[in-house]
């Protein structure tokens, strides 16, 4: 579903991504881990199409299309979803209204009927229970006055409602307590399906106890230096990223998807 080939990207004149290669297939859950400044969030934002990041080299093919040629809203309508690390507030814009507008934009693109306010509420009832979203949060302005946990749950709720094909989650676990983490994990796990791919960008192994990945990749200094199965995450927890560097100095980056025993 997603093929990233030799992706280079920079922001403010600094090159952050220095040749990313990654293949993600439908039905898979991938985790991308790495130290601060490695480029994890940059990768997420570049995939979503943020213009402040300039792609200098490489290509990204999403479902057979050139993703980098598509505007961010086009990507979203084609099924790409980014759960933001720091969801922004939009005062004055009602959350339910915003969600319905987004869902209808995507439905229209898919050739489906648009939903009116009543139908929309019916459709999302179930998903609200799953993510433990309160009615009251729906009536507030988008993310305005939301606590950290509420914002992250909001992102997962949006993901559940919009039913994307490629979910990119940018450090969704940062700032969450154990209970919130479990709720978020439950929501994400409920979205796992053969038609969907999920890419989780995270610092810590903790989230991966609850959302078990099929593949783990380690991003250091703009490149994927190691890939493995879920055990790789445990290794990192023990030896840290520094340990990884030392152990792999001079080694070839492993092809993505390779499972190391």
């Amino acid at each position: 579903m997603l093929e990233i080939r030799n992706l280079h990207a920079r922001v403010d004149g600094h090159e952050i991504l220095k040749g990313i290669n990654l293949t993600v297939n439908a039905g898979e859950v991938h985790s991308i881990m790495g130290p601060n400044g490695s480029g994890k969030s940059t990768l997420a934002q570049v995939l979503a199409g943020r213009e402040t990041y300039e792609v200098t080299e490489g290509e990204v093919i999403y479902r057979g299309q050139d993703l980098l040629e598509m505007a961010p809203d086009e990507r979203a309508r084609e099924g790409v979803f980014l759960a933001f690390q720091y969801p922004v507030e939009i005062p004055g814009v009602n959350t339910a209204y915003f969600m319905r507008a987004a869902l209808n934009a995507i439905r229209k693109h898919r050739g489906q009927d648009e939903l009116d306010a009543v139908d929309f509420l019916a459709v999302i009832r179930e998903k609200m229970k799953l993510i433990e979203m309160d009615d009251s949060l729906l009536n507030r302005a988008v993310n305005e006055g939301f606590s950290g946990g509420e914002k992250k749950r909001g992102e997962v709720f949006q993901m559940a409602v919009l039913e994307p094909t490629l979910c990119i989650m940018d450090e969704t676990d940062s700032g969450l307590d154990i209970d919130a983490l479990k709720v978020v994990a439950r929501g994400v796990n409920a979205l796992r399906s053969a038609d969907r791919a999920i890419v989780i960008v995270t610092h810590y192994q903790r989230l991966l106890d609850h959302i078990v990945p099929d593949f783990v990749h380690v991003l250091v200094d703009g490149r994927i230096v190691k890939s493995g199965g879920k055990e790789l995450a445990m290794e990192l927890e023990d030896s840290g990223y520094a340990g990884l560097d030392k152990g792999n100095a001079g080694a070839e980056p492993v092809a993505a998807g390779t499972v190391l025993s």
Binding site: R75, R77, V93, F98, V142
Partner: protein, 483 residues
């Protein structure tokens, strides 16, 4: 239409001798420039009684002694008052375009975007009204209904002739002839406007709209409007429309006076979309308006709601004089300046009676190179015990070449007053737009969603159809504002 003009000219011709001056009566075109003869001409054309002419002349003579104010935060090339034509004949049936095919296609595009129905488009384009409406037109049935309730809704010039007592009693009682440079000019040369009178205890059953004024839509260069609500009555009046209006006359200096007696309510809503000039700031209307409401009676209530998206320059402070005890004044405003538009607008709330209350919610949106200024005066007089004011002025900047300015004036001379003032300035952030894009919304939809959210509190105060139109109008006005 042509027989009517003939009759008018004939009557005027007869009056000419009465007033003893001579003007070329064969043509209806009046040369540009302003002097006493022109003032007399205007009055004569309208067949006004002597007292009306006297008032005009008094105003004109006063105007000659006044200087144009220079304190606002707007810049414009000097106006040559002798280059303006102060009277133009009513449009003939054959004057305008014969069909929509002859109308500027860009204008038609805008009408379509605003959702204006086809026959309304024809009327707005100046196509002969007769050809468009059915014999039993909406305007006629409207008038009948109002007549049954004793409500008077007619052109101002008609009221001068039919209801002179009311005009004499109230004209200039809220905006005196000497009030300010532009109001004084208006008092000398006003052409037409609306007159509304709601009798005691009557709640006007429908929103009164300038669109349904009896005569054809003539652009208001110097409009004069007077609305009187007697004890216990109420009325909602809508001025303007979302369709962009062009006019050869650049200066629009209207005066609107509202009077609310005991327990009466007047709601005055404006949507203004006069031609704002081209993208380089050339041309465009100067909208210099004096609007004021007097809460004369106890428990009276006057509310101004405005959506100003047009004009090259908007300069107005709709305000309320809170004379009656327990009276309430409100001002809700959305002012948009895009490209090179400028606005210096706000309100004046003068608290005089006891336990008076005023609410001000002002939303300024600046885009392009627009300069948007809020200027408000909240004045609490010495004897105005128990006065309360809540003011909120918010500015939204789109892009980094525009400006937002705020000049709040607060004068409190009574220690029991309760004042609240809040102000915010914000930008539509790139991150907010990206967030919306990442959810599948186009850039245009994202901006209009955010802007409409910003304006919600004001749009809520508009009568429903106006509110829907206002939202669409903002969307259209903001097109291309984010490169």
């Amino acid at each position: 239409m042509s027989t009517k003009t003939d009759a008018t000219v004939e009557q005027w011709r007869q009056q000419e001798y009465k007033y003893g001056f001579y003007t070329d009566i064969e043509t209806d075109s009046v040369p540009p420039g302003l002097d006493e003869d022109i003032v007399r001409l205007i009055s004569a054309k309208k067949k006004e009684p002597q007292w009306m002419l006297d008032w005009r002349l008094k105003s004109y003579r006063r105007w000659l002694t006044m200087t144009e104010p220079t304190w606002p935060n707007v810049h414009y090339p000097a106006i040559d008052y002798q280059a303006i034509i102060y009277y133009s004949a009513p449009k003939q049936a054959g004057d305008g375009p014969k069909s929509l095919d002859e109308v500027d296609p860009k204008l038609l595009e805008t009408y379509a975007k605003l959702g204006i129905p086809l026959h309304e488009q024809e009327v707005l384009s100046g196509i002969a009204v007769d050809a468009v409406f059915d014999s039993v037109s909406v305007a006629t049935t409207y008038k009948e209904k109002l007549g049954e309730l004793g409500i008077i809704f007619c052109p101002f010039s008609e009221a001068v002739l039919e209801h002179p007592d009311l005009i004499r009693k109230y004209l200039g009682s809220v905006v005196p002839y000497s009030d300010n440079f532009f109001a004084t000019l208006n008092s000398a040369v006003f052409t037409d406007g609306s007159f509304v009178y709601i009798p005691k205890g009557v709640r006007c059953p429908m929103d009164l709209s300038t669109y349904f004024r009896i005569n054809a839509i003539s652009t208001g260069q110097f409009e004069r409007t007077l609305i009187i609500a007697e004890e216990g009555s109420s009325v909602s009046y809508l001025e303007g429309c979302t369709a962009p209006m062009r006019d050869e006359n650049q200066l629009h200096a209207a005066v609107v006076e509202l009077i609310a007696l005991d327990d009466a309510t007047i709601k005055y809503s404006t949507i203004q979309n006069w031609y704002p000039g081209d993208k380089d700031g050339k041309g465009g209307i100067f909208n210099f308006v004096t609007k004021r409401g007097k809460c004369l009676g106890r428990n009276s209530h006057i509310s101004w709601t405005q959506v100003e998206t047009g004009s090259a320059i908007t300069w107005k402070y709709p305000g309320c004089i809170l004379l009656g005890d327990n009276s309430v004044g409100e001002f809700y405003s959305v002012a948009l300046t895009n490209n090179y538009q400028q606005a210096d607008t706000g309100t004046k709330m003068i608290h005089i009676g006891r336990n008076t209350r005023s609410t001000v919610v002002s939303k300024g949106i600046s885009a392009g190179f627009g300069q948007n200024t809020y200027r408000g005066l909240i004045k609490i007089n010495k004897r105005a015990a128990g006065a309360r004011n809540y003011t909120q002025c918010d500015s939204l900047l789109i892009g980094d070449k525009c400006g937002a300015h705020t000049f709040p004036y607060i004068e409190v001379k009574n220690s029991t007053a309760h004042m609240e003032h809040e102000a915010t300035t914000s930008k539509i952030g790139e991150d907010q737009l990206f967030y919306c894009s990442s959810r599948g919304l186009t850039m245009e939809d994202s901006i209009s969603m955010i802007v409409n959210g910003f304006c919600k509190e004001v749009f809520r105060e508009l009568p429903m159809e106006f509110a829907v139109e206002a939202q669409k109008l903002l969307e259209v006005s903001l097109e291309g504002s984010v490169g």
